[in-house]
Amino acid sequence: MRIQTIGATTLASLFVAAACGGTAAPSSAPGASAATTAAQSAAASQAAPAVIKIGAVLPLTGPFNASGKYFQQGYDLATKEVNDAGGLDVGGKKYQIKLSVLDDGSNGTKSRSLVEQLVTQDKVTALLGGYDTSLVEAQQAVPDQYKIPMVEGGGAASAIFTRGNKYLFGTLATVDVLGSNTMDFLKYWIDKGKLPKPLTIAVVWENTDHGKDYQGAVEKAAKDHPDYFKVVLDQSFELNGSDFTPLLTQVKAANADAFLSDAHLPDFITMHKQYLQLGLKHKFVSYGARGPDQKGREALGAGADYLVAGVWWTPAQPDKASQDFTAKWKKAYNVTPDWFQALSYETARVMYAGISKAGSLDGTKIRDALAGIDFTGSILPGGHIKFDPTGKPLTKYVFTQNLPGNKVNLVWPQGVEGYKDAIMPLPMGQ
């Protein structure tokens, strides 16, 4: 009976301690009073820092797990920096950020339901987006549904920003901008007399939103500037192709000056190998955002030399912010970062800046703050992150050209720090 009484009293103490919301451990002394426990809890809660919950759903397993892990690392680094500096200032009060990252296994259905879980069960204040367009698109309905803002840096299709979302913002410049920037770059070199006018173009693109964006931008530029550009071949291809020889034979038969392709890494590697094996030559060759990535250069060796690519960020950027970021990343993770890591880091930073600017944890106020933000000191090309009324980023691309010996030059825009003239036309095309 005595043991039962002690047990009941201890249990009651535990319930009281939990009700007070404190982090103090329950008293272990038999017969301890509930009042003493409550007082201990109140004291403890005054000392504990305020916490703001941020959630993210990433592909930590499955086909996108490599990129998912880079994104997690970027979010973690940005979060740690804020917490180590004393916390996030929201309306004069400091908050420690508690970042919860859930794994969607690269599955869209699971991704969406986990984002909902973060919002409805974990009660996060804001969301950081997933990786890959398909998973971002799966997640994108949730922010507006629950009025919880999301900033994403992993989806580059412009279609993401055509669905009327008010609570979704992106930091990854969309692929239609890549296409139009590529045409601006070509126009410059045509004016310099290094490429023929009009420039005949063979464009091939992966059969996805990503590819359609690229093709659409090339087609538009050709319509807007018919004296500069003429598209002589426009073909789409299926992802993970086994044999691009028929397609590349059609490219060869088109006899164009320039070959443009929008492809993900595996298709870029297979296609460019077969391009070189077939002995194709063009005055200009670009595979969209592919080219300087280490995996591509390892797979293609010298075959990747002189390719021009438009990227969201590169460790070759010599500006102080980028170099500081690279050094910080190497110290934390012992590896040189690429655009995945840079974008995830900046995505988190701009979200935290938006919360601070709002001075509130209210989702709608944060959303309004993000909509009007001009985030300066960014490592992304241009140094600023801003959004248009649809949440689409107004960030820029920087163009690189691969050089022999695994080197990379920055070749566009002209004002970018470290700019060097591109080697044009490409040596292998002459």
């Binding site: 086994s242 044999d243 094996q277």
Partner: protein, 299 residues
Amino acid sequence: MFDLNNLATLAVSALLTGGLYATMSYGLALVYGVMKIINLAHAATMMLAAFTVLTLFRAFHLDPIIGSVVILPLFLVAGMALYRVAVGRVAAVPIASLLLLFGVWLVAQNAAYLIWGSEDQSILTSYTYSTISLFGVRVAVTRIIPFVLSLVMLGALRWFLGSTDLGRAIRAVSQDKTAARLAGIHAEQTAMIAFGIGTMLSAFAGGLLTLIFSFTPDFGGTFQLKSFAIIVLGGLESFPGVLAGSLVLSSAESFSILIPGWRASLVNLLAFGLLVATLVVFPGGLASLAVHRARKTAE
């Protein structure tokens, strides 16, 4: 727009891709022929073989072609073990064996993610960009090798199945398991060896594919689907039929680019369209068509 040289390029490409597809499909055809089960772990075998060859290349600088041969005993034993432990127990129930092998595929994929990660891997050799001239067409050495080896494999399979005791036993079991038992053949052991050989052939194809493609643990799925179409098209139990089916598919893929308005992104439609058409019009495949015509001629 397409001159004679371009047309010749398409023809040569069709031939070489046909050889590649045949190399990928022999293993699947052998397993189906003996056990009448669709080996859904075929893609997993090709993928694991590719990663094994990659590991040997990185650790010992072993050329991928030699690596593809070196791994054969490993995959022969692995295939036999898989049959002994699991497949043989459910081989009599088609749906159970399908589900089991699909499960093996998923397990292998996830194990590969854990061991090798999800980044694209590839092998660059000294001859990756080497080419020779074939009928005036520039052809990559890395495309010729799988084609030549597919012919060698076909010859070897025909000799093995026709001229060796084990090969004849495999044919007997594939024709009638009960009759084979009555003839004194140990049917279960023969089926196990056949499954091991089928696995080994798939692994050989997977190793050779590293010459041409980059790969991740997802690798092999699209090729597996094409292999299904090929073995149905060729006639499910015929190896010359597999080569013929491969050439039909590769030719359709190659020359479809000549159709005005054709989109290269529709190329998979061809494989599956041919699969459906074959099942509806001549379910026995090209081999049964050939046999039927031969009989008619004899009459």
